[in-house]
Amino acid sequence: MRELTYTAAAREALAAAMAKDPSIFVVGEGIGARGGNFNTTAGLYDLYGPMRLRDTPIAERGFIGLCAGAAMTGARPVVDFMFLDFILDAMGELINQVAKMQYMSDGRLKMPIVLRGSVGVGGSAATHHSGNYYSIFAHIPGFRVVLPSTPYDAKGLFNTALRGDDPVMFLEHKLLLNTKGPVPEDDYAIPFGQASVVREGGRDCRVTVVALAAMLRKTLDACDQLAKDGISVEVIDPRTVAPLDMDTILQSLHKTGRLLIVDETFAPCGIGAEIAAQAVDRALDDLDAPVKRLNGAHTPTPYSPPLEAAVIPNAATIEQAIRDLLAE
């Protein structure tokens, strides 16, 4: 199968959808003729022009509020926000308007809006360009929160985002944007709320690891090391944190008895806490050890490479966390 980068895979989905549906338009800073800071819209401006690829003022609250109004009246906006940190100015619009509109109108208004852009720690982006914050959105009723980890998933999940009528936070880890992987040319959609068992453990597998976004690759590296010692690990990528596919996680936990959640971002009140709580709630009798979390440090994100590396998990710390859990 041909290989595409993560960004190209998502762009393929966007381009195909725009060709079919004239109500889709993209807003963002530099997404017009420039083709997007991360090449998310490269080549599309020439095809569809400024009305559908709209460069905006630096007014995140403004253009997200505007897109809410557009989504309520028949258009299908895609907000290309570049860095998730930038749209924190729009939290009121997002939480009070975008997330609540369908409910408050008793389902008579739809809110088909895709908010896409980068998240994550890496590349010395420092603290105003490294936010993850997905747990915040997963906490709010009304959002779909998507965290693809592979080019294949990026295309399939973007297709689902563009076809639904719900607000979707489509969050692309910056360290994944240029990673390559097999992507089918046909049109396919991956439903939200369907985790992927990325690495299946053997019959003697005694630990399940849930890994999100960029943590998935690092977790798989750790598993390769552990395999040399004959340690089998089952690895699950939830792919969407809202909705969260707990059934797949619990199925694996039933098999293995131990659960570790590897999440780059902060632990308190995070998605790992939610997964752990549900595991204890729904599968206590499957647990052979406490549920463990491996998170990034609860700090803003520093700039200098050794400082930056110190606030996020890596393959070695993940490997150790798995060993520790197996010894519990």
Partner: protein, 390 residues
């Protein structure tokens, strides 16, 4: 002067018990009448009350919860305020504050998953050593234990002997080896007894329907008044004969064979006995019976009729003198001969027959008085009005 707290004897035969837990903490003030610890002894769990006032002091080497302790063993002290406990150094020390939690050592912990697997595989995990970081028993420990036990012959499941089982074992062995047991059997015609019971079932005023055990308990109590030699026990060089009949009723429970006691059965009506045994049996089966309710019987009845047993040799519940076993009641053809004839049949009828088995201790009583007692019981079964009118 510190007052010693010792393991008490809870029953006539108790030699040792299991110290279960303190109900007061080290350093806590205790008043006379307060319950201070739990002891599993002679077939029951007892909460032991303090006979004195004082401050509870528990020596560091005192028996730990779960330990088997002989009667008379030292558990702790009651001291006066400011008084030093005997185990403390001679320098005055300030009394330690009450412990925030029970002084019980951590019981082995087990993961929820391991617990589930233990139940599935029938593994008794209490004795396992956990391999988890904190000593937690994990699934692998349980599976290993299960694999080892299945490697043994199928009958080899090992369960530690419980205090209750140990008491039963010792008593039963004593009943056979210390006593001189002899068993007499007699087939009796229970037709009238069955009829009586059917009539009681029809009686709207009857609050309980007596079981056959109740009926035989009543009949035996009545017969024992006429044959007190069977209502006796051996105490050192004396044979003690009780004027009251305290009737033990053997009951099968999860913990083993227990015999709750109906006191003064000779003075109680059939329905009183029935109501009391029903309540006692329920309390015994659910482990709520007190030690007092399980001891002090002078005679015991044991019924295996519900298991379709025809006859058996019951074992004497020492120090009693005798025990009466009840077999099942079955319909049989009975031949009645013409009066004066040797083999001429007057009629063949169907009767409800039952075998009674009396085991008695030949050390205390001889065969003839024992047989006379059993014969009296037989007559009372066959003609219930004989005792109903008394």
């Amino acid at each position: 002067m510190a007052i010693e707290i010792l393991v008490p004897r809870l029953g006539w035969t108790m030699e040792e018990g299991v110290f279960v837990e303190w109900l007061k903490r080290d350093g806590e003030t205790v008043r006379q009448g307060d319950l201070i610890f739990r002891l599993e002894g002679d077939k029951a769990l007892t909460e032991v009350e303090s006979m004195d006032d004082g401050i509870l002091r528990i020596p560091p080497d005192a028996p730990q919860p779960g330990a088997t302790v002989p009667v008379g063993a030292l558990l702790g002290y009651l001291v006066a305020p400011g008084e030093r406990a005997p185990f403390e150094p001679s320098l005055p020390v300030t009394p330690s504050p009450p412990l925030p939690t029970s002084s019980a050592p951590a019981a082995p912990t087990i993961s929820p998953r391991a617990l589930r697997v233990a139940k599935e595989l029938g593994v008794d995990w209490a004795a396992l050593r956990g391999s988890g970081r904190t000593g937690r028993i994990v699934e692998a420990d349980v599976r290993k234990a299960a694999a080892q036990s299945t490697a043994q012959p199928p009958t080899a499941r090992r369960v530690p002997v419980s205090p209750t089982r140990r008491v039963i074992a010792e008593r039963m062995a004593a009943g056979l080896h210390v006593a001189a047991p002899v068993t007499l059997s007699s087939e009796v015609d229970a037709t009238e007894l069955v009829r009586l019971r059917e009539q009681l079932k029809q009686d709207k005023k009857a609050t309980v329907i007596p079981s056959y055990s109740d009926l035989l308990a009543k009949i035996a109590a009545h017969a024992l008044l006429e044959h007190p030699a069977l209502n006796a026990r051996l105490e050192e060089d004396e044979i003690v004969t009780d004027s009251a009949v305290h009737m033990g009723i053997a009951v099968d429970t999860e913990r083993g064979l227990l015999a709750p006691v109906v006191r003064d059965a000779q003075a109680k009506s059939l329905l009183q006995i029935a109501a009391e045994t029903r309540a006692l049996i329920e309390r015994t089966r659910t482990g709520k019976a007190t030690a007092d309710e399980l001891r002090g019987s002078t005679f015991t009845v044991s019924n295996l009729g519900m298991y379709e047993i025809d006859a058996f040799s019951p074992v004497i519940n020492l120090p009693e003198c005798a025990i009466l076993g009840l077999g099942r009641i079955v319909a049989k053809q009975v031949v009645t001969l013409r009066p004066g004839s040797i083999d001429e049949i007057e009629r063949v009828s169907v009767r409800r027959m039952m075998t009674l088995s009396l085991t008695f201790d030949h050390r205390l009583v001889d065969g003839a008085p024992a047989a006379a007692f059993l014969q009296r019981v037989k007559h009372l079964v066959e003609q219930p009005y004989l005792w109903l009118v008394t």
